[in-house]
């Protein structure tokens, strides 16, 4: 889980970063289940894995995928 979190921060390709946050949610929901909170685990599985990831992917589709490319464009404009 920590490895996935570090990967999500370090990764320049935003699509892979979002998928890594999805992996965090998978492990987190397993942890919730093991810590005897099954209802939180269900919520985390449905919202953290599916809905949040999809919303981020929609956002990436409408903006740009690469972090560096975005930053370069941004700096040139101003």
């Amino acid at each position: 889980m920590i490895a996935a979190a570090v990967y999500a921060v370090m990764q320049k390709d935003l699509l892979y970063a979002v998928l890594a946050t999805g992996v965090i949610s998978v492990v987190l929901s397993v942890f919730f289940y093991l810590l005897q909170a099954p209802d939180v685990a269900i919520t985390e599985a449905a919202i953290g894995i599916a809905l949040t990831t999809i919303i981020f992917i929609i956002t990436i589709r409408n903006t740009s995928r690469d972090e560096d490319e975005y930053r370069d464009n941004h700096v040139e404009k101003f």
Binding site: D39, I42, I55, I58, R61, N62
Partner: protein, 239 residues
């Protein structure tokens, strides 16, 4: 210099947190019993099965003891969905209103067709049995929305009826308030549960709790589905 400032800030934050959490005993039994309660949870743990005949204490707290807060929570979700819709919704005659998705393979399409009814049934099960098993209205609604999401991104032709969704959502929200007002006029306080609560572990038990959770489930499910439907219809901006 900048790094030094960052380091000092982090050090101060760490120290404050450490001082705060130093005295909290982790892993101890702080619940106590009803006569000598450590926290309020002793009251909930004893009263939920005894008075309300509800085996899922979390549901009893969320819908019964803290029902008014849940109404506020549902209102927050409703306002968020409304705000999103008012920003992103475009009329159908304005331009082609197609979701932009990649063509999915036949494996995905067949799998989605099989999984979709199962996910709907699981969602319904989770919020109908909210007072007996883990989970409840919010969880069941989220599962249903995930099922719709699967169909929305797999099939281009799959469309949800926007009007039906909006009406279902509104009726469910009003029913929650209506149950609250029923308690107010009949028993004297908002969202007051009925005296009749059935037997422990029966499907029809717990008074108004399953009814409220069914309405919350319908509301959350339709709301999230609508939000996803609107989000998937945004066109990528052409640069």
């Amino acid at each position: 210099m900048k790094k030094l400032i960052i380091f000092i800030t982090v050090a101060v934050l760490t120290y404050t947190l450490a001082v705060t959490f130093k005295d909290i005993p982790f892993g101890e039994n702080r619940i106590g019993d009803l006569n000598n309660p450590g926290t309020v949870s002793a009251y909930y743990l004893q009263k939920a099965p005894e008075d309300l005949h509800v085996s899922n204490t979390i549901t009893a707290v969320v819908v019964n003891f803290r029902g008014f807060d849940t109404l506020g929570e549902v209102t927050v979700l409703f306002l968020a969905a409304t705000g999103l819709a008012s920003i992103l919704y475009r009329k159908e005659d304005e331009e082609e209103d197609e979701r932009i998705t990649l063509k999915s393979s036949s494996l995905v399409r067949t799998g989605a067709k099989i999984l979709f009814p199962l996910m709907l049934v699981l969602g319904l099960y989770v919020f109908i049995h909210g007072h007996l098993t883990p989970g409840g209205g919010f969880q069941g609604g989220a599962i249903i929305a995930t099922g719709f999401l699967l169909m929305l991104i797999t099939y281009k032709r799959f469309n949800t009826n926007h009007n039906v969704m909006v009406w279902l959502e509104s009726i469910a929200g009003l029913a929650f308030v209506g149950i609250g007002l029923f308690g107010l006029f009949r028993y004297g306080s908002f969202l007051q549960n009925t005296g009749w609560t059935g037997n422990l572990n029966d499907l029809v038990s717990g008074g108004l709790i399953p009814l409220i959770y069914i309405f919350i489930g319908i509301k959350v499910g339709t709301e999230l589905t609508n939000v996803l439907d609107i989000l998937l219809k945004i066109k990528p901006r052409k640069n």
